[in-house]
Symmetry: C2
Subunit: 170 residues, 2 copies
């Protein structure tokens, strides 16, 4: 059975909508997601660095549209693992664990990996929004479209724009 | 540079000494490490399951003799990663992170992996005390002697009895 490695932030969880909501809450500024295409998250959100370090940021992330159904589908068909690089935010470790337990109760503890880098993770297929995670992977690389990666063009990557597309190809 | 994957509990950290101390504290029972050779940790320590779930258990683990010096040596010579299966104890995630920061400040966040199983971890050399972790690994497998694994005989594994031995062969 093929090993499929799926990223959390920006793939299973909708980080942009959270950053937009937190920015609006703190500064009143309304950031339109279409205005931040092609720039990094830190450039796009003036208070982004503060917000991702806030207690509760990762615990209350909204689901990426379609991710729950698609993950259930993948879980029935593949040897599925969730691999998230959360080590730079120590508070996020428990929050990610609790978030997964709430929204993806069919994922077992055995399937969760929290790491600082994904350089020692192996498998057959990786779905991620960050090229820095995909580039060390030896299997098939699927890049999940997010505003920050719109400019990335690499023939090594297959690009998907939604969870619906993932279900169509996997 | 070769990737070396090192386990925490029972390799970098001395879990047996902590289990003995907690058992003594709670029941007054003095368990001699020589009496629990060849049996599982759960069989050896009547209150072991309760103790590993106690807040602070992983944060206050004593260092395995020689582990700090040897890890510093490995860190200078190899591409070193700490991979610990702590997902069944959600409190341990942050505790392990803080424990590493205290005793191994030269280890960066990029080098830490906390997971449920080690099936998606790849590298050249793995040092672990549990056969269940070593058996899926595709590289060189080094089993670190602990009371529970004394009975394990497998020509696939190279056995080491101390960190001094590790420094002699790596």
């Amino acid at each position: 059975m093929k090993k499929v490695i799926v990223d959390m932030d920006g793939v299973m969880a909708d980080v942009y909508h959270q950053l937009i909501a937190f920015e609006k809450r703190d500064s009143g500024k309304d950031i339109n997601i279409h205005d931040v295409v092609g720039v990094s998250e830190l450039e796009a959100f003036p208070n982004g660095k503060k917000h991702v370090n806030e207690i509760g940021f990762f615990r209350t992330l909204p689901l990426m549209k379609g991710s729950r159904e698609a993950m259930e589908y993948l879980n029935n068909k593949y040897d599925l693992y969730i691999v998230s690089a959360g080590m730079e935010f120590p508070n996020s470790l428990r929050e990610k664990y609790d978030w997964l337990a709430e929204y993806f109760p069919f994922i077992t503890l055995e399937q969760i990996v929290l790491c600082g880098s994904k350089k020692v993770v192996s498998g057959d297929i990786m779905i991620d929004d960050y090229p820095k995670n995909l580039k060390h992977f030896s299997g098939e690389k699927i890049i999940f479209t997010q505003p920050h990666n719109h400019h990335v063009e690499d023939e090594d990557y297959k690009r998907v724009n939604s969870w619906e597309e993932i279900m169509n190809i996997l």
